[in-house]
């Protein structure tokens, strides 16, 4: 599967990974209706590293949650390849997450009772074509911390375990919500490196949410969010390597 992906990357026009049309999301909280997304259109291509920028409440997380099958839209359509994910039920969404999507959150959400290796194995046990947990942890530079428990790891290390866990099943997409939000810049750089190397080596389509402008420079494309809409989109002419990023 990975081989197929790498090959497809060399094509002139990459395949469409996500297609979103007029996506809306309304939260009904008591008397007030909150329009988290009010008509978003977007296309993400295979192998692309996209950064979603914007202040809190601008809708970027909501979009990511819907794309990742964690939330359902109120209106509009979203496709993953040929499948319309806005049509999937609870059971199919679980299947979809299991087979295709990797997640990374601001709070690492590791299982404290499992070691780094076991946290990754948690996913490889239920995947079809997983890499070895050691291999995934190697990709994020943690091959020396395999048997440590979350409580024995630093924040940056924990986040890298989370990334390793997300990519160990060789997902087609990796969705990251503020992956460096809880980290200082030095540790954050390690995490970004891990993300870009996964993107490059495995060709995993990656979407990263951040409100840190500096991070946008590592992306192929950048989407600006405001008031539940995409306000600006641009392609980075020249991408910056993660270790050159500073904040």
């Amino acid at each position: 599967m990975a081989a197929r992906k790498t090959k497809s990357k060399s094509k002139a026009k990459p395949d469409i990974m996500f297609k979103v049309e007029g996506l809306t999301k309304v939260y009904h909280t008591g008397e007030l209706d909150i329009h988290a997304l009010s008509g978003v259109d977007l296309t993400l291509y295979e192998g692309e590293l996209a950064v979603l920028l914007g202040p809190s409440g601008s809708g970027k997380s909501t979009l990511l949650n819907i794309l990742g099958g964690l939330d359902v839209a109120s209106g509009g359509h979203a496709w993953f390849r040929k499948d319309e994910i806005t049509q999937l039920g609870e059971r199919e969404l679980t299947r979809y997450r299991r087979d295709h999507v990797g997640f990374v959150f601001q709070f690492y959400n590791l299982i404290p009772s499992l070691s780094a290796r076991e946290n990754v194995a948690l996913v490889t046990e239920i995947s079809k074509y997983p890499m070895k947990p050691e291999e995934a942890l190697g990709l994020v530079g943690l091959d020396h911390r395999l048997d440590h428990f979350p409580a024995q790891l630093s924040g940056g290390e924990q986040q890298r375990v989370a990334i390793a866990r997300a990519i160990a099943k060789r997902p087609e997409v990796l969705l990251c919500d503020e992956p460096t939000g809880a980290l200082d810049s030095k540790t954050g750089v390690h995490v970004l490196k891990a993300l870009t190397s996964v993107n490059e080596e495995l060709g995993t389509t990656t979407a990263v949410i951040t409100h840190n402008m500096a991070i946008a420079d590592i992306a192929h494309r950048v989407f600006h969010f405001g008031d539940g809409k995409i306000t600006k989109t641009y392609t980075n002419k020249r991408r910056v390597a993660p270790d050159k990023v500073q904040w």
Binding site: D99, F103, F107, I111, S113, E118, A121, V123
Partner: protein, 802 residues
Amino acid sequence: MVSVLDKKLLRDMVRLWAQALAIALVMASGVSTLILAVGAYRSLEETRSAYYERYRFADVFATAKRAPEFVERQILEISGVAAAETRIQEFALLDIEGMEQPATGLAMSLPDHREQRLNRIYLREGRLPEPGRVDEVTINEAFAVAHSFKLGAKFHAILNGYKRPLTVVGIALSPEFIYAIGPGDLIPDDRRFADLWMSEKAMAAMFDLDGAFNSISLKLLRGAREAEVIKQLDDVLERYGGTGAYGRKDQQSHAFLDAELNQLKSMAQVIPPIFLLVSAFLINITLTRLIALEREQIGLLKALGYRRFTIATHYMKLIVCIAFVGILIGAVAGTWLGQGLTRLYADFFHFPFLIFQRGMDIYAIAASISIATALAGGMRSIYTALTLPPAVAMSPPLPTHYAHLGIEKLQVVKHLSQLTIMAIRHIIRWPVRSGLTILGIAMSGALLITALFSLDSIEFMIDTIYFQADRQDATLNFTQERPVKVLQEVEHLPGVLAVEPYRAVAVRLRHGHYHRKLAITGKPPGADLSRILDRENRPVELPQSGLLMSERVAKLLHVTRGDMVDVEILDDSRGQGSLDATSIGTRRSTRRLPVAGIIQSYLGLAVYMDLRALNEMLDEAPVVSGVHMAIDDSQTDKLFAAIKGLPAVSAIALQGASLAKFHETLATNLTIMTTVYVVLSVIIAFGVVYNSARIQLSERVREFASLRVLGFTKAEVSHVLLLELAMLVIAAIPLAWIIGYGFAWATVQGFESDLYSLPFIIKTDTYAISALVVLGAAMTSALIVRRRIDRLDMIKALKTRE
């Protein structure tokens, strides 16, 4: 004005209602069983003592063959005796129209021209028999009710060989017969056993006891030494055929009531503490979790300047609120059940009135114990929260440390999924909590075994008594010892298939300074109807010499096989009825006999010896006290009719009727008891499992949400929680069996009295049922919590900081 903290308290209660209720119910069970048992105990105790007091229940009792009236004065001179009441009492067979089987009555004389001094009867209806009237009788209420006898009803009694018609002129109760049990019966059967009170003059004439008595009761002065009085009384009555005086503790009705009261007392001592401990544990884990969740808020309150005391009070109020709900439910349930139980007892025991003792103190005690245990349960977590500096409290806690199990390298472990490892590590990470959870669940199962095993024991006891040991269909007691040739007469009665004689002799056995008054039963060699069983319940042959005695007797006398005991013969028929000078001054004869073996007997104080050897020991021609019979079921009507006409027979015991009554009574009582215990067990199991599950869920909501995000299905995620609970429950079951075994054993020990002892039998079914009830309750509560996992909000869980 309600303070903000109190508003928070109120909202916390609303939010935690399900868990709080689960805890409150466990606590309520403790409170209600305490109030129930203590309430019923006090009510019965109070009722009994008021009844004894008002109706002057005697302290010492004795019977003789025939004692002249002047002996009473002699007895009154014994130091410590306050009052005496003499009477004539004899067993009589009763012939009641419409009832095929003969019933047995105990006829007792009432003084003709004065009030009863002791053991006064309480006249419910009608009057006492007129002096000298041989055809008037006052009967006990239970017997009247069982036969729907109203005043004026008639039946026949065989009194000293004469069948006499009797008319019911009064219905009464007596403090001597609160628990009235017929000869040869295991439990009271009001249809087949009656108390009959008749005129003294009439009875003296019927039994040829003019100017004499054969039964005496004594009231002692405060501070009198009962043992001393009994000894002197025995000395006085010896020459008149006295069969050994005894105190209240050996008086049948009193002893049975005492045994029942003791059971209530032990119930009050054992069961409520279990519930209170479990609820303290539940409060502890729930509050620990609540405070862990509120760490930041506590830090904030402290940062804002709230004093520790105020914060501590806030959480203590929460505990007290939960406890209050528990106490309220428990008090209402306990009062209600307590009255029900007292009434149930009142049906079984015959009291003329019931005093409900509902002292506020027991409620106050139950409430304060509950609140105290609850606070003790919560104290540690409150203390932990208060001692954290605000800054530390407000920062998120570090991730929990876990360690390798040290068994990961094992091949078996390698095959476990990560989900299973999560569950195992979580259990091991919190060993005290897991241990207490296991213990709590185990208590639920243990309680059930304690309740259910008695069925097994009783079933076993019934089988042993009715089908292994006493296999006769009926037993006839003679008014006095008869020569052996009576056997031939009985054999020729219609429908009699086999007969087997026995002889009972009242003796006092002595070994060192241990002694006991009891009866030795003599049986013929090769007895096949009424058999003696060894401790493994195999039939044994009587040795030609020496005694076989039950374990209870051996224990009381501190003897083992081969020891010698002194047998003092109290029931010396040579002195029977003789008032001539030659019998006066004879010493009671004593023999020395070896203990030839220890045998099994669940009823009374059983001692057996060879019938021939017994007669020889007494230097007598062969006589018997009664006959066991096997009878042809198709001819019972003819047989009973014939027996009703036999003057020599004083009482008849029917195994079939006795067994049926036993089953009937057991069925009612045990159904109620079992239901109560099942409910209580379910409350514990449910309370513990539900709270554990809720707390786990709260602690691990992020883990579970992460798993869902990673693509694990709801079922797989629930699996982690359910697996962990399952492991705890499965670990709890064997522990429940062990603790239940211990409780049951203790119960058997507690039951043991001179009246009866329970065999210690727990059937596999009982273990299985207790396990199933625990599993069922655990599964139900786990499934309720599982629904919460299904409704988990993944995004919210993952984006909030722990």
